[in-house]
């Protein structure tokens, strides 16, 4: 018995534009968790992440006609969500001060909390301790894998910059994680 293949994202977009709203519901089911993850990891606030996720899907739904055939829906929705998060960060006036440092925060913070936590929690704490630009790149790397071009599109940065940020982010993560192990022992 042949198994019916699930429709591709592009197909679902086309079906929504043809007047089938259930297709957009499928897209929401596919990506709401990932978009929320990106929003939460960027904003660190449940309510704001929730609002940013909602805003991203609402904007995507309203401007679905501008979605280019052949483009990746995930990249598109992540880009919309990322911009919604940046707007919120700008409004909070924390964005500039968060963006400035090129090194991980050194004060007591997430690293300290990581003691005696399992590996995943320690990694999450280490990611939280990264500067904003590295944290976002790592979050998108987590969501999109090694699709550097897609990450660059979401962030609106050249691919070389994304690769550099990712390299430095991993370096800092390794340093933070080994520091945590030392503290633990």
């Amino acid at each position: 018995m042949a198994v019916k293949a699930l429709p591709e994202d592009g197909e679902l977009v086309a079906m929504t534009l043809r007047g089938n709203p259930e297709s957009f519901a499928t897209l929401v089911e596919r990506y709401d968790r990932a978009v929320y993850h990106l929003a939460y990891r960027t904003l660190h606030d449940v309510e704001e992440a929730r609002d940013a996720t909602q805003e991203a899907f609402f904007k995507a739904f309203r401007s679905l006609r501008t979605f280019k055939t052949g483009a990746k829906f995930s990249t598109w929705i992540f880009a919309i969500a990322y911009h919604a998060c940046c707007d919120r960060l700008n409004r909070r006036k924390h964005y500039v001060s968060d963006e400035m440092p090129d090194r991980a925060d050194s004060g007591p913070g997430p690293e300290q909390q990581a003691i005696a936590l399992d590996e995943a929690s320690r990694l999450r704490c280490a990611i939280d301790a990264l500067p904003e630009k590295y944290r976002t790149v790592i979050t998108l790397f987590h969501l999109q894998g090694k699709q550097y071009e897609e990450i660059a599109t979401v962030l609106g940065l050249p691919m070389g910059t994304v690769k550099t940020h990712l390299f430095r982010a991993k370096e800092q993560l390794r340093r933070l994680l080994s520091g945590m192990e030392v503290t633990e022992s």
Binding site: R18, Y36, A49, T53, L64, R65, A120, H142, S178
Partner: protein
């Protein structure tokens, strides 16, 4: 112990996604795909507004000038319309425009799917 690149990547990919708050999906769906259709479309509102404005104008004519002003204004409008439509040149231009529109609609090139569906949705909504 220091993680190598592949170990770190494996650990990153193994991280679970954040759990979204309850009701997030339903609130997104209610704001997008399952949003209740508005009672009046933009065209309905425009038609209602125009009809309302004409009605108010006619009532104002009746109230301010009595029946004579009302009849006089209607007569003016009627004479203008009859002059407009009895002019052979005007009628010829109208016919030429209509025929061209019909002819063009027969030879229109295929439109992008998005635009087509938007138009058909608007037509269906009317």
């Amino acid at each position: 112990m220091k993680m190598d690149d592949s170990e770190l990547e494996r650990a990153i990919f193994a991280l679970p996604l954040e759990e979204p708050p309850t009701g997030l999906r339903s609130s997104i769906l209610l704001a997008t795909a399952y949003r209740p259709a508005p009672v009046f479309s933009l065209w309905d509102l425009a038609a209602l507004g125009a009809s309302g404005a004409i009605a108010i104008w006619l009532v104002a004519l009746l109230v301010l000038g009595g029946g004579s002003l009302f009849v006089h204004t209607l007569g003016l409008i009627g004479s203008f319309a009859s002059r407009f439509f009895s002019n052979a040149t005007t009628l010829a231009w109208l016919a030429a425009g209509g025929a061209t529109a019909i002819w063009l609609s027969l030879f229109t090139a295929p439109q992008p799917a998005g635009l087509l569906s938007y138009r058909s949705r608007r037509r269906a909504g009317r």
